[in-house]
């Protein structure tokens, strides 16, 4: 038995109390949890308001904005959305996001593998070009994007909305870094067995990259689902509205600045659901994508 133990047990005053890892004094513990809960309320309360108010009547939402529980529950906002273009916007969003995600999975993993493993002249230059591209801020590209889509004759088409989003340097990096972490011996063995580059990539390397592919899929889908500026500059026709550009037009456009908050909030709620579901299911993959930042 060591000499300190009885001393620790006695607990004489705060100053002399030895440190016990992870334990906080009661006052500090209360302060910690109070801060955590307060901030959690601040971060979550707007979503509670969004959820509750979308089941309200217009009058109720205006009269009792602070109370998230409707006085009288109604699905009027959702009915009205269903009668408007909302289903079309939903279809467009799903179509565009799924296309972008599939395209990025293929392009990013191919390029990531080549940059990680295949030796060829010009690899350094390609790599440098991708780094440079990542440095260009997105909003600066709005006008340039329109110019090229117009010139190629694909402005105001699904193709024009999807293709610019396939230029995804970040995804190439996620895949490249993952492929670099796989031991080369695996491919070596396949090569000795006579497998070609494409074969090795497709049936040996890619199946091992499942975690990175999930991260890429989740980030791509979330990114394209939430994208707004690209769909402002790549299309004009209302029938090509995605959820983001369509709901944005609900706010500033056809319905004007009038109230109708339940309608707008219902639209906001519905467009949040898919991303929320993906977030809760794949949270650790999103978190890992973010944390990759610091793990140099």
């Amino acid at each position: 038995m060591s000499a300190e133990q009885p001393n620790a047990g006695r607990g004489t005053g705060r100053r002399s109390r030895p440190y016990r890892p992870g334990q906080l004094r009661p006052a500090a513990r209360i302060a910690t949890y109070t801060a955590l809960v307060t901030f959690a309320l601040i971060y979550i309360f707007p979503f509670v308001i969004e959820l509750g108010s979308s089941f309200k009547t217009n009058a109720d939402a205006t009269a009792h904005p602070l109370n998230p529980i409707p006085q009288q529950w109604t699905l009027a906002a959702f009915h009205e959305l269903a009668q408007q273009d909302f289903p079309l916007w939903l279809f467009n969003s799903v179509f565009v996001s799924v296309s972008v995600t599939l395209g990025r999975i293929v392009f990013d993993s191919l390029a990531g593998y080549a940059l990680a493993r295949l030796r060829y002249r010009g690899r350094g230059a390609v790599f440098g070009a991708i780094i440079a591209v990542m440095a260009v801020p997105g909003v600066v590209l709005m006008i340039p994007k329109f110019l090229v889509l117009n010139e190629l004759g694909i402005y105001n088409t699904y193709g024009g909305m999807i293709m610019p989003l396939l230029a995804d340097a970040a995804g190439v990096f996620i895949m490249k870094q993952f492929f670099e972490s796989i031991p080369p011996s695996v491919e070596e063995a396949a090569r000795i067995d006579g497998a070609g580059v494409l074969r090795i990539f497709w049936s040996v390397v890619l199946p091992m990259a499942r975690p990175a592919l999930i991260t890429l899929t989740v980030l791509s889908f979330q990114g394209s689902w939430n994208e707004l500026s690209n769909f402002i500059v790549s299309r004009q026709s209302p029938s090509l509205n995605t959820l983001t550009s369509g709901v944005a037009s609900l706010v500033s456009g056809q319905l004007g600045q009038g109230n109708q908050y339940p309608l707008k909030l219902a639209a906001a709620l519905l467009m949040t659901i898919p991303v929320a579901v993906i977030f809760f299911v794949f949270q650790r993959y999103i978190v890992r994508g973010t944390e990759g930042a610091v793990k140099e």
Binding site: P21, G22, T32, F39, I42, Y43, P46, E50, P65, L66, F107, L110, A114, L118, R119, A129, I130, I131, M134, P137, G138, V140, L141, M142, I143, P144, K145, F146, V148, E151, L152, M163, L166, A167, A169, F173, V197, L198, F201, N226, L228, L243, T244, V247, A248, V251, S252, Y261, K264, L265, A267, A268, M271, V275, F280, G289, T290, E291, V294, K295
Partner: protein
Amino acid sequence: MAVRLPAALAASGERPAGLGTGRRRPGAGGMRGREAAAGWLFTAPALVVIIVFLVVPILMAAWVSVSDWSGIGNPFSGGAHYVGTQNYSALLTQAGLPRQQFVQSLTNNFYYVLMVVPLQTILALFLAVVLNRRLLAGRGLFRTAYYFPSVTSSVAISIVFLFMFSGSGVINTLLGEIGVNGPTWFADPNGLIHLLLGAFGVHNPPAALAGHGLLGQSWWDWLSGPSIAMTVIIILAVWTTSGTFMLIFLAALQNIPAEIEEAAIMDGASGWQRLRKVTLPMLRPALFLVLTLGLIGTWQVFDQVYIMSQGNPAGTTLTPAYLSYVTSFGNQQWGQGAAISFLLFAIIVALTLLQRLALRDRDKAPSARRLRLAAQKGRQ
């Protein structure tokens, strides 16, 4: 503000060890050739997309920014004429509406950056440090709550904020409960600094400030501070992005070896001393990353302005990104719109370089020796 996180993250996490795995069997020339072909084949799709939708468009916009294209005809075959630097000088040196709006948008965005970057960084750091406490119940739950706003769409969040900050909305009802008469947020163009001065009885600008100025804008207007309407967008930005940056800090905190903290504890450092002298210095790379991402992101604010305010009231939520959009797509002044884009690009690049330069030697984690010195200082 949708922080384009992954792009910058990947860049910072990248090591320049491009050729790290290049030691495979020598010889086998046919294999080499096939590998080279495969290399180009594999990178080609991504490369084509990047060239066609990024490199070429930038060159096209560079031409448009020195042309008089008005949206009619093809700007690359006779629809536009070369006008030299006219579009740029209209924004910078010639008095008139374009310059007035551009300078106002710069002022607005400057105050936006000035408020958002420190606030989101401090909030994110605070949340991460609190969440990093050991033996914390419900850590995952709290982390999810703070991070959730970051993954949702800017459109949805903007609508919720429009509702909350409307004249008789959630926030004003809340303020009313404590006896405060809230402002009509989105209709109030008054600047915070002007309001503060007004509270001290300064309602009319001193002649020295009103009569002189820079780039055609009086010093009084430069010193307005963000408008009440802009303040809502600032709150929204801090609320949505702090979760992302919290994750970055949290990951960095978890990378700090437990022994370092234990050593500080053995030396008798208090919790506050440990935070200031040990934890914060170790977080310097993460802090640098967060500040850089914040600085780049905040100069790009577009979505929220497009949805919530369209630059109103009185142009106090105009930002360069939104102004370039309206100038081109709204007023069909494509040359000027493209010029604004390039000026914004230049600002972002310059600020990033400046920050990199300022923190060049300090973005490394401190050495063990410096830590020991710090611990010694802390003991005194």
